[in-house]
């Protein structure tokens, strides 16, 4: 029994354009879901329209895209420690609103997710969450970068990857041991690539804009040197390195070369690095634009987009980083790094990748689903008969305006407030349950009497 069981079961999704990059499917189709919330059939649209295999609701997805639920390899849920900013449950709800059914949460909590008890704690909290939550364990004990954390025990408890995110593992020797050790469990080592003595106390990208503003810079080379070091270690140990949130054109080239060489490396990019540039800070020093790695230049944005389109970068991950309002309302220098991103990811990616012609819908969905799941070896991100029905219904042409009130996340530190985004998540389904829906905007989602039930049951929570 999980929190999901209180949501309405969906029996059939009919009339939508089903896009599943994993199977190459892109056609109108009906999806049938059984009583256990598993996909029981994927049929031609309209075929046997009356057959429903469970007593679940029928969702009319005409005019919509039906895709695998999105997978986010990089979120910060702030629990334990900063439950005022986000919790496992609230972050998972925000994820569902953004179309994400599976999220992986970083261990930089207080205390850090650095032992099996804390992994279990997070998984226990995830029982109250609408979506799937996989903890990422710390590489080093207490995330202090001094000695190895209990990786085997954390794997056994359910951790899917390891990272000291927020910072890299400073010691090459320790990282090498972690990589060697990780190979026994085939789990990725996720690095936040940064040389602390190069980025020092920098607060934004080092370049023309930082020169104008007098803000201390974080040079692109800080990320690139650490990435190159980590790739050298991955090459030598054979471990799987996953590079978090690439931000520079140089990093894309480093990954491109490493992959060509056959190094076991994967990489992600955030929606914000695919669209925002450092000159936004010059408007009025708004800390909402303060993020680590920092927003870079147009040239970097273009290279990251191209790298994703080329497949050099494996997937999109949000680095959803909630912060309390008072912490982001003050001096740029003193504000913490990070921005929320789960709920705006789809719309921002549509703007950055589809509207620019770099990717089509199947291509974008691939980056948000199969390619992400594959990087962490997660059984998610596809629409397969017999698998749990984790799905998202997207209204591809509908628009919405980002406001603090429109965001479900406990924190509202989004740089996209005020933006008009195209591509609305109308429904998110996990285990066959309708965990999020946006019917109000006038779509023709649910049919007949079942509509009433699904609306009220969702509203009850």
């Amino acid at each position: 029994m999980t929190a999901r069981d209180q949501f309405a079961l969906v029996g059939r999704i009919s009339g939508g354009r089903v896009i599943d990059p994993g199977s190459g499917l892109d056609s109108p189709a009906d999806i049938l879901i059984d009583e256990r919330g598993r996909i029981s059939r994927i049929g031609r649209s309209g075929s046997g329209a009356s057959s429903v295999e469970s007593d679940g609701d029928v969702l009319d997805a005409t005019g919509m895209i039906v895709a695998p639920g999105f997978v986010d390899l990089h979120v910060h849920l702030r629990e334990p420690g900063r439950e005022d900013e986000e919790t496992v449950a609230s972050g998972s709800a925000a994820a569902a609103r953004g179309g994400f059914t599976t999220i992986c949460c970083m261990p930089n909590t207080e205390p850090a997710i650095a032992d099996q008890e804390t992994v279990r704690f997070v998984l226990d909290r995830a029982l109250a969450a609408p979506g799937r939550v996989h903890p990422i364990g710390a590489i080093t004990r207490d995330r202090e970068g001094k000695s190895l954390a209990g990786i085997a025990e954390m794997v056994a408890a359910g951790a899917v990857a390891f990272s000291d995110d927020g910072a890299p593992v400073g010691s090459a020797g320790l990282l090498r041991r972690a990589m060697q050790y990780s190979r026994m469990f085939n789990v990725p080592i996720v690095e936040h690539c940064d040389m602390p003595d190069l980025s020092a106390d920098g607060v934004m990208n080092e370049g023309l804009v930082s020169t104008k503003l007098g803000l201390r810079g974080i040079p692109p080379v800080s990320e690139e040197i650490c990435l190159a070091r980590d790739i050298a270690l991955a090459r030598e140990t054979g471990a799987h390195l996953h590079a978090a949130h690439l931000s520079t054109a140089g990093s894309v080239e480093i990954i491109r070369r490493a992959k060509a060489e056959g190094v076991n490396v994967t990489a992600e990019v955030t929606p914000h690095h695919l669209i925002l540039t450092d000159d936004l800070i010059a408007r009025d020093f708004d800390p909402l634009y303060k993020v680590n790695p920092p927003l870079r230049t147009r040239r970097d944005v273009d290279a990251l987009r191209q790298g994703l389109a080329d497949g050099v970068i494996d997937c999109i991950a949000t680095d959803h980083a909630p912060h309390a309002e008072q912490e982001k309302d003050g001096e740029f220098d003193l504000a913490p790094f990070g921005m929320v991103g789960l709920e705006t990811a789809l719309g921002v990616c549509v703007k950055a990748l589809i509207e620019t012609g770099l990717l089509d819908w199947p291509g974008l969905i691939d980056c948000l689903t199969r390619r992400a799941a594959r990087a962490f070896h997660l059984a998610a991100g596809t629409i397969t008969v017999g698998s749990p029905a984790d799905l998202v219904l997207i209204d591809p042409d509908a628009q919405w305006r980002v406001t603090p009130e429109s965001l479900i996340s406990k924190s509202k530190n989004s740089p996209f407030l005020g933006w008009e985004l195209t591509g609305v998540v109308r429904a998110t389904i996990v285990d066959g349950r309708l965990v999020y829906q946006d019917f109000a905007a006038g779509s023709s989602l649910s049919t007949a009497a079942r509509r009433e039930r699904s609306v009220t049951s969702t509203a009850k929570r």
């Binding site: 370049g207 023309l208 930082s210 020169t211 104008k212 503003l213 007098g214 803000l215 009025d284 020093f285 008072q326 309302d329 003050g330 001096e331 740029f332 220098d333 003193l334």
Partner: protein, 360 residues
């Protein structure tokens, strides 16, 4: 004390409401004769509402500040130095960084303009400890302050104030970003002698990377039509500067050869040595220090400036600092006039509606 005298005199003048007399009339009220000045015919209004920096400030605005400052400078030479235009207005000086001359200069300018002055000084360390600017600002707002003069170690702190208060905000230095009144007083000091910047080259020497004075000078001087060059060690001169239309030199001899009408010598902070921007101050002094031999290579009539406080014997030698080409003390005097002008003009508001009634 002559204060009450001047205040009484002007009371009638200010009665009309928010309309403020231009400097000419102000001077008239205080002293009794008209100072000649370009501002006589046009009681102008600035286009800016706050002075956050000189980047983006239009030439007409800088011209207006210079001519207004000239009128105020004349006032400063009178026995009665106090004039009334900020009577009834409250100015708070919010200093989060130690500062002697800038704070005194602002305070004196405010008092000369008859403002009510409140000083708030916080140590930089208390800022780091989380003493929230946001909360301080809310308090200031609650006290119905009209003008906030802020010095803060974080770039953009004055911009934050404009987002969160209705007060007029004057940046008195925000980290390494800008120090617009210093830039204006440097420009005024040159303008007073040159009147036009065309064909003039100003060389800024030193730690450009960390210097708000350099940034404000660069923006202001470029707007006024001067050529601007900078010279300093490669560790302290950001490469993107050349994209701003500034000539970048790392050899002081080359920089001087290009023909320099004024050199603005920046203070070199001793901590740059410990953080490896410089191997030693001795090397800095050897490569970039302005001594008599280097000063002699300025164009005829060339000027030497320094925003202070000086490290004599490091970035500048005493014979140059106290020599004939030095205008360093003029800068201090001009700072007062320029700050009076800026305060006066900003408090007059950007509204053109008042212009018609001000020519009394």
């Amino acid at each position: 004390m002559t204060v009450s005298h001047s205040e009484q005199k002007v009371e009638a003048r200010v009665k009309g409401g928010k309309t403020m007399p231009p400097p000419k009339a102000v001077a008239d009220g205080a002293g009794g004769h008209d100072p000649a000045g370009p501002s006589e015919s046009t009681p102008g209004r600035l286009r800016i509402r706050h002075l956050l920096g000189l980047e983006g400030v239009r030439r007409e605005d800088i011209d207006l500040i210079l001519t207004t400052a000239e009128s105020f400078k004349e006032v400063l030479d009178r026995p009665i130095k106090k004039v009334p235009p900020l009577r009834g207005q409250t100015v708070v000086n919010l200093f989060y960084e130690p500062s002697t001359r800038t704070r005194i200069s602002f305070e004196l300018a405010e008092k000369r303009l008859s403002a009510d002055v409140v000083n708030f000084t916080a140590s930089a360390s208390s800022v780091q400890k989380g003493e929230s600017l946001r909360d301080t600002v809310k308090n200031i707002l609650a006290m119905k302050t009209d003008v906030v003069v802020i010095r803060h170690p974080c770039p953009g702190a004055p911009h934050f104030l404009t987002r969160t208060t209705d007060a007029i905000v004057l940046n008195a230095g925000d980290g390494a970003h800008e120090h617009p009144t210093q830039g204006l007083l440097d420009i005024y000091t040159l303008w007073e002698r040159w009147r036009s910047f065309s064909g003039r080259r100003v060389l800024i020497v030193g730690d450009i990377l960390h210097s708000r004075v350099a940034r404000s000078n660069i923006w202001g001087l470029l707007t006024m039509g001067a050529q601007v060059s900078v010279c300093g060690p490669t560790t302290l001169v950001p490469r993107p500067l050349s994209e701003l239309g500034v000539e970048v030199f790392t050899d002081i001899n080359c920089a001087l050869e290009a023909g320099v009408d004024a050199v603005n010598v920046l203070r070199i902070q001793r901590e740059r040595q410990s953080s490896d921007f410089l191997p030693s101050l001795r090397e800095y002094s050897r490569l970039f220090g302005i001594d008599a031999a280097r000063a002699a290579r300025l164009r005829p009539g060339g000027l030497v400036m320094h925003p202070g406080p000086m490290n004599r014997g490091v970035e500048i030698t005493s014979d140059v600092a106290d020599g004939k080409a030095s205008v360093i003390l003029d800068q201090v005097t001009n700072g007062l006039a320029v700050r009076m002008a800026v305060l006066y003009l900003l408090c007059s508001g950007p509204s053109p509606a008042a212009v018609g009634t001000s020519g009394q």
